[in-house]
């Protein structure tokens, strides 16, 4: 815990300080709290360019991490995550269509559209894959569905009247924080209230659900309703992230696993908040890398998370978190 | 059935000081066995005793960790695997069937060891397939997809695949699991007829001791990878063995119709473990 909080403060400071120009920590703190003796340009850089992006990244990572933890326990599938089962892609398709074709939607409605589309894809996939089947099956179905939706995202964007270039495609395919400014933060902020609510309320039902349907039912938990509500909550956490930053992948999948492995617990009441913090740290680190590594090019943060996340997933699979196969 | 060539003098299978199992998990240390031509052998033992592992080692599905298995006097590990498949067929415990594959298409695959990858099926191959389907009484189901069959029909279709191989040695890994009692008797009766009419040597792993005693002429009891009893059913199926091997108190009597011994287990013996 202590390590994690130190790490998060460190990452926040680093992502505020590094870039062009790189500022000293003192200057960053000065700019933030408006002390005298800080150049206006620096203050502008820190407060209006980097700070919203850092807040947006932390918010996105936190919500994704918590969402993944809820989803994995709700579906009792270690491979569940909004990016793997098509929820993120579906939400992104909705947002991409609205943005690319300039459909007459008020900006405030973007997260709502993303939520609706995410819920639709989520329900679709759950109606296709029974929870009792092999967790691998859901991964395969989700991968196929995601590939398909991505083809539609590309089609929608290329067909749009004024094609905005590659960067916009990548915002909707892999997720990017480069467009996040104060406006976007304002858009997502009200939804962020969901985060502490979910962390506080979801832990106990999740722990009971994990014991299996029959046991949970015996303990007086309405399994179907609880599961539906929790699943909707996990989509709710993802929707605003997709609306402002696109479908950043692998954070929701990996953060809960890291937490469970490090803390050696699967108690949802512990995993949920720690996974949220871990997700925030991961996104900020990846985004800072995205800004700096190939400077002056900027590579969308979702690409970094995908490039790092795919091998992590391979390792997780090999470590046998998924050994549920019949023995020979 | 048509033997490939007469190899008189050798036992059908000879297991010479074999260590069976998987790397890091040795099931059997120094196993030696000899299966005579034309015999019906049943491997019995409690869950996890290693009887399936031993059968799989005989069938070269698992390589022995040390020692050798000889088929008709030849080291099975050195024979081309297709040649082995012309002399020995195995009915595995779990099957995978692709959707929409018909019974006829499935059984035809049994000719692969004789035909190989590039030659077309000949008349004799067709005859072998038809014979296998006739023996298993699947004529009316030939064009049905295998995944639509009932459990008993399903098992018969796989049995037909093994029969189409036209081998003189047949290995069966718990062939009666998932079958109801009627289908169990059906299948074991077919195995007995094959043995009697076609001189097919049979080695099978069986869970049901009474079935083993009735349908085999030799029983081998396995415990923790070692042979603890070996002989005709009347000598193997005894209260003493049931106590030692399965941990049950049981009485053994004679089946008034077949004369085979049969056991009725009463209580388990509390184990020290």
């Amino acid at each position: 815990m202590i390590v994690l909080s130190c790490l998060s403060v460190g990452v926040v400071l680093c992502s505020l300080a590094w870039g062009t120009p790189t500022l000293s920590v003192g200057k960053v703190v000065g700019a933030l709290f408006g002390s005298a003796g800080v150049e206006d340009s620096h203050r502008f850089i820190v407060r209006d360019l980097r700070l919203p992006r850092v807040i947006g990244g932390a918010l996105a990572g936190g919500m994704l991490g918590a969402s993944g933890a809820v989803m994995q326990d709700t579906l009792r599938n270690p491979l569940a995550g909004p990016e793997l089962i098509g929820v993120s892609a579906g939400a992104s398709l909705a947002v991409a269509t609205i943005v690319a074709f300039r459909l007459p939607f008020p900006g405030v409605a973007l997260p709502i559209a993303a939520l609706a589309a995410g819920l639709i894809t989520g329900t679709l996939i759950l109606s296709l894959v029974s929870l009792k089947t092999n967790p691998m099956h859901m991964l395969l179905v989700g991968a196929a569905l995601t590939a398909l939706i991505n083809a539609l995202v590309i089609a929608a964007i290329t067909l749009a009247p004024n094609f905005g270039g590659v960067s916009i495609i990548y915002r909707f395919l892999v997720g990017s924080l480069s467009d996040v400014q104060w406006d976007e933060i304002r858009l997502a902020a009200p939804w962020a209230i969901g985060l502490p609510l979910v962390i506080l309320l979801a832990g106990r039902p999740l722990n009971i659900l994990k014991l299996g349907d029959e046991v949970a039912e015996g303990l007086g938990v309405g399994v179907r309703r609880t599961r539906a509500v929790l699943f909707a909550a996990s989509v709710l956490l993802v929707a605003p992230v997709v609306a402002i930053a696109g479908p950043i992948g692998f954070i929701a999948l990996v953060s809960p696993h890291i937490v469970r492995r490090l803390l050696r617990t699967s108690d949802a009441r512990v995993v949920l908040p720690v996974a949220a913090v871990t997700g925030a740290v991961l996104v900020l680190a990846a985004d800072t890398a995205a800004r700096l590594a190939l400077h002056p090019h900027e590579v969308a943060v979702g690409l970094w998370t995908a490039l790092l996340g795919a091998p992590t997933l391979l390792v997780l699979m090999q470590r046998g978190i998924l050994r549920r196969r019949p023995s020979a | 059935m048509t033997g490939t060539e007469p190899t008189v003098g050798h036992p059908s299978i000879w297991v010479d000081r074999v260590a069976a199992g998987y790397r890091g998990h040795e099931v059997s240390r120094r196993l030696s066995l000899s299966i005579e031509r034309g015999s019906r052998t049943a491997l019995v033992g409690p869950n996890g005793s290693g009887k399936s592992t031993i059968l799989k080692t005989l069938a070269r599905l698992i390589k022995p960790l040390s020692g050798s298995v000889y088929l008709n006097g030849k080291d099975i590990g050195r024979l081309p695997t297709r040649e082995v498949a012309r002399r020995m067929a195995i009915l595995p415990q779990v099957h995978e069937v692709p959707p929409e594959l018909t019974v006829l298409e499935l059984v035809s695959q049994g000719r692969f060891p004789h035909v190989g990858a590039l030659r077309m099926l000949r008349h004799t191959d067709d005859e072998a397939v038809q014979e296998a389907i006739r023996l298993t009484r699947l004529e009316h189901l030939m064009d049905r997809p295998v995944d639509t069959l009932s459990g008993g029909e399903h098992q018969r279709a796989w049995m037909a695949l093994a029969l189409a191989q036209q081998t003189d040695l047949l290995l069966l890994d718990e062939p009666t699991t998932f079958l109801d009692v009627g289908h169990q008797l059906d299948l074991l009766g077919l195995v007995s007829r094959l043995n009697r009419d076609h001189r097919v040597t049979v080695v099978m792993v069986l869970h049901d001791l009474n079935h083993a005693a009735r349908f085999a002429d030799r029983m081998i009891a396995v415990l923790e990878g070692d042979v603890v009893a070996d002989g005709p059913p009347t000598e193997v199926l005894t209260p003493g063995l049931l106590r030692e091997c399965f941990g049950v108190e049981a009485s053994v009597m004679e089946d008034p119709q077949t004369g085979a011994p049969m056991c009725i287990p009463h209580t388990t013996i509390p184990s020290d473990r």
Binding site: L140, A143, L148, A155, P161, A310 | R82, D143
Partner: protein, 361 residues
């Protein structure tokens, strides 16, 4: 339409599989030829069938006809048919050897590898103002290499001491596919130019394909035929499970490597000229299976025909369909901005995919 027909045929158990197979092949072949004729007829200028035949025979009434038919439409139609057949039959091999109905070139990373190869070649040659003709051979070559390398990578990563196994292969494939497409995106973002042609590669498109591309594709297809002939009987045995395969005298690991090689060559070849077309490799074999069952000898032939039909039809639609037809959308599209054929197959593929999974559970 074919799906409905398949459903009807299936209800009647009387027709023997062999007869059904012959009928299916005959009907599909006629359908394919008819579609290709239609394909050559339809375009910015509509040709009557007799004009097409004259132009094909080399006696056009106007030289322009000859160019339109023989240089533009015919190669594209042939390419659509050939690539569709290759992708779809590759899917048939993959589904049987991996024993999974969801297996396809795009789910195990072959497509993504080929696309990465193509994009790499495109990006590296942007700076040099190389002749377009060079690109027409260089890019497919790079794509082919990429597809083969991806296949090898997936196999290598899932290989253990006891060999490979279908489930591990397919899961490794999914992950490798994700990583490869991320790498492609990386390249695209860094290059920052010529994005239009790159995007057409990502989704798959047949526009601006010429005889050059066909000259590349045909040898690959010819190479694949003996491979397919040799691996079909092996694949037939292997789809019954490893234990049965070994029991029948097959060296399972070698056999799997052989069948996978066939599938990879077919898919990489097709993707190297038409790009990462979605869902053909999954859809084709499924439709074919409802027609003729799972015996690979029949399934591969039928999948190839179905795949060819789907891609020719989809590209015909992609070529003629214009967004201006949707009145409600009343948006101005740039002239010539057609929907890439890959988007079409995805649109058709989505409901099909859902139907497929529902039917299974």
């Amino acid at each position: 339409m074919t799906a409905v027909a398949a459903g009807l045929v299936r209800r009647k158990p009387a027709a023997s599989p062999n007869l059904r197979y012959r009928w299916s092949v005959a009907v599909l072949a006629v359908l394919l030829v008819a579609l290709m004729l239609l394909y050559v007829m339809v375009g910015p200028v509509l040709f009557a069938p007799d004009l097409v035949i004259k132009a094909l025979a080399g006696q056009p009434e106007e030289p322009l006809h000859r160019i339109a038919v023989r240089e533009v439409r015919l190669p594209r139609a042939l390419m659509a048919a050939l690539a569709g057949a290759m992708l779809s039959s590759s899917g048939a091999f993959l589904q049987s050897v991996l024993r999974n109905p969801l297996a396809a070139p795009a789910t195990v990373g072959i497509t993504q590898g080929a696309v990465l190869g193509a994009v790499l070649a495109l990006v590296l040659t942007f700076g040099s103002e190389g002749a377009l003709n060079d690109l027409n051979t260089l890019v497919p070559l790079a794509a082919m290499a990429g597809g083969l390398a991806a296949g090898g990578l997936v196999y290598g990563l899932s290989y253990r001491r006891a060999g490979s196994d279908p489930l591990r292969l397919i899961l490794t494939g999914v992950v490798v596919a994700a990583a490869l497409s991320a790498a492609t995106s990386f390249l695209v973002l860094l290059s920052g130019s010529h994005t239009d042609s790159i995007i057409r590669w990502l989704v798959g498109s047949l526009s601006t394909r010429t005889w050059d591309h066909l000259r590349f594709l045909v040898p690959v297809a010819v190479l694949a035929v003996p491979l397919a002939v040799a691996t079909i009987p092996v694949g037939n045995v292997l789809q019954l499970g490893d234990a049965t395969a070994v029991n029948l005298g097959l060296r399972a690991e070698l056999a799997r490597a052989g069948v996978l090689t066939t599938a990879v060559v077919l898919a990489a070849g097709a993707v190297s000229v038409v790009g990462g077309i979605a869902f053909l490799g999954m859809m084709g074999p499924h439709l074919a299976r409802t027609l003729v069952g799972s015996d690979l000898r029949r399934l591969v032939v039928c999948s190839a025909l179905v795949g060819a039909i789907i891609l020719v039809a989809a590209d015909l639609m992609a070529r003629t369909f214009s967004l201006d037809w949707i009145p409600l959308l009343s948006i101005e599209t740039e002239s010539g901005s057609r929907i890439p054929v890959g988007a079409f197959t995805a649109l058709v593929g989505a409901p099909f995919f859902v139907y497929l999974l529902r039917a299974r559970t």
